[in-house]
Amino acid sequence: MTEPAGTDVFAVGDEPIQLLDPSGRRVDHPDFSYSGTDADIASHLRDMVLARRIDTEATALQRKGELGLWPPALGQEAAQIGSGRTLRDPDLIVPSYREHGVAWCAGIDPVDLLGTFRGTAMVDWPSRPDGFHLYSFVIGTQALHAVGMAMALQRDGQVGNDDPAANGAAIVYFGDGATSQGDVNEAFVFAASYAAPVVFFCQNNQYAISEPASLQSRVPLYRRAAGFGFPGLRVDGNDVLAVHAVTQLAMDRARRGEGPVLVEAYTYRMGAHTTSDDPTKYRLAAEQDAWKAKDPIERVKTYLLSTGAIDQAWLDALAAESEALAERLRAGCLALPEPALGEQWQHVYAGMPPALARQREEYLAYEASFEGASE
């Protein structure tokens, strides 16, 4: 195992790394550049637009009573698509519960996401690839799991090989609130100690439900990494190019075996914490308006229109694709299979202990007694 890397490998500061400003203008950065073409950027735009449509449709489905709850990712599309599009096998992706855009990048059918929030299923999804872990709902807990998965990559010889394509790293998503949890701080310690190939991707969306990020940290969150002995970077989380460039670098570094990186994607939760939340109780409209001007999608659209990489017809086609996706989501949500309580005994243990099997039989007999009575 390599020694923990120093913290001085990136000469960056509190100003978020930015490669595309809110007006849609490409900007240079001394240390980071986006390597893709305009066609690649257009594909990011498509991802972001579709991710947003998934999100707004799921929110609408909750409003119609078809979902019990939905945690919107509105406004965080660049952070999720920009990072998600740097990931490939054998990387391991460990989400929190708001990573719908990352799930999209991983090829997960968005209809599958809905079952968890409709209450028809737990968290595993038929279209979930092996490298994408389950959503986690207890804040920050997954950071430790990601470090363990990264330790498995080390042991499985999937780190630091001469062939870059053979290398992988773990990436774990969490929010500003989670950085206060013991689990996250312990994950930092373990990752640093073992130089684990893991990227801690913190979407600082400024709020943990109602609590501003300033309650969680008196220093910019990316700077926390220095105290644990690995580099931290702050990136404009609404700039898909910068997020892509920074995550790419962090992942490549981890894949090479050079240890963990903390990426703080500085963004804003444009929506509520979840559909049960009312943000008007704790934040001002002016603040939301200021962030709306930094929208992750608009700046890319402006840029690509200015270069001529896309035109109105391209956008119209994308809008049509979005609507078709929304329609598929609505239909798919209503068609999600209803669970049966009798099935829930199957997956508590690898094998069902006799007492549990007996309890299930008793339950099934009890259920059957109603069916008999109603006929």
Binding site: V138, S180, G182, A208, Q216, P339
Partner: protein, 324 residues
């Protein structure tokens, strides 16, 4: 006398506790400006200030651990755990530290802390938002565990818990949060650790608490139509258990059925069954039965109605008890 929801009753109880004792303070996630995700603390930060109604960083172990420090220096912290399933990060602080400070210090120190936990299912929530963790805490010497079933008790019990010199786990049945009831803010309340016979009866005793009290009363009313007289006992306190009220009821009826949402195995029902058979053996007409959540992690919400004890399951158990 006024009519209010359990949320409003808890809010009123907390307000009165804050007003009565300057050492009382509240801490938890989102409890300040937002008033808590269930609005139990709504308006209290504006009224009492940010030193006494404290928004905490997102760390349950931190919330409980720092509150213990405050308690050791004479404060009476009331912490809110946002949801039942989020209490476990604080488990070490609660069961290894808060619970046994009196014991460790040979009685020279105490931790007069209240840990409020909205608990139980039935609200269509996602994972970790419908748990019933009471047995873990009732299993821990040094902790007291109470739960209210109605707004009147909520108003008084929260104040009594705050006044207690021992740490109290205060479980709030979130599915009953918005149900209204009469609250008498002048009456002298029942002692905190006493159970209450909420509906007298003669044929069998339903032992229940928190969210299941209403379910059991409804079952008793339904049973009346069939000529069966069920006594419903609201335990209110799970640790300590009010044995005498329980035994007296079971001796009268000869039959006991324990009802709770939590899984059955090694739950409150198991403890009650053991105590009842030891103390009421000759008066029992039937084995003590349990109607509980099944021994599963809390299932997806679309099947929670079948998972949770309901009127039918309670009456089915009554039938089985009476068949002996």
């Amino acid at each position: 006398m006024s009519t209010m929801t359990m949320v409003k009753a808890l809010n009123a109880g907390l307000r009165r506790a804050l007003a009565d004792d300057p050492k009382v303070l509240l801490a938890g996630e989102d409890i300040g400006q937002l008033g808590g995700v269930f609005r139990v603390t709504e308006g209290l930060q504006n009224e009492f200030g940010t030193d006494r109604v404290v928004d905490s960083p997102l760390a349950e172990a931190g919330i409980v651990g720092t509150s213990m420090g405050l308690a050791l220096r004479g404060y009476r912290p009331v912490v809110e755990i946002q949801f039942d399933g989020f209490v476990y990060p604080a488990f070490d602080q609660i069961v290894s530290q808060v619970s046994r400070m009196r014991f460790r210090s040979h009685g020279t120190m105490s931790v007069p802390m209240v840990i409020r936990i909205p608990y139980g299912g039935g609200i269509g929530a996602i994972e970790h938002h419908s748990e019933s963790p009471e047995a873990y805490f009732a299993h821990t010497p040094g902790l007291k565990v109470v739960t209210c079933s109605n707004p009147h008790d909520a108003y008084w019990m929260i104040q009594q818990a705050i006044a207690d010199d021992d740490p109290v786990i205060f479980l709030e049945p979130k599915r009953r949060y918005h149900e209204k009831g009469e609250v008498d803010t002048e009456a002298s309340p029942l002692p905190l650790y006493d159970a209450r016979v909420v509906k007298p009866g003669t044929d069998a005793t339903l032992l229940c608490y928190g969210p299941m009290v209403r379910t059991c009363v409804e079952a008793a009313v339904a049973a009346e139509a069939e000529g069966r007289s069920l006594e419903v006992v609201d335990l209110r306190s799970l640790s300590p258990l009010d044995d005498e009220t329980v035994f007296a009821s079971v001796r009268r009826t000869g039959r006991a059925i324990v009802v709770h949402e939590a899984v059955g195995t090694l739950g409150i029902g198991a403890e009650l069954a053991a105590r009842i058979q030891a103390e009421c053996f000759y008066e029992l007409e039937a084995p003590v039965l349990r109607v509980t959540g099944y021994d599963l992690p809390y299932p997806p919400s679309r099947v929670e109605d079948g998972y949770l004890p309901d009127l039918d399951r309670v009456l089915d158990a009554v039938d089985r008890s009476l068949a002996y």
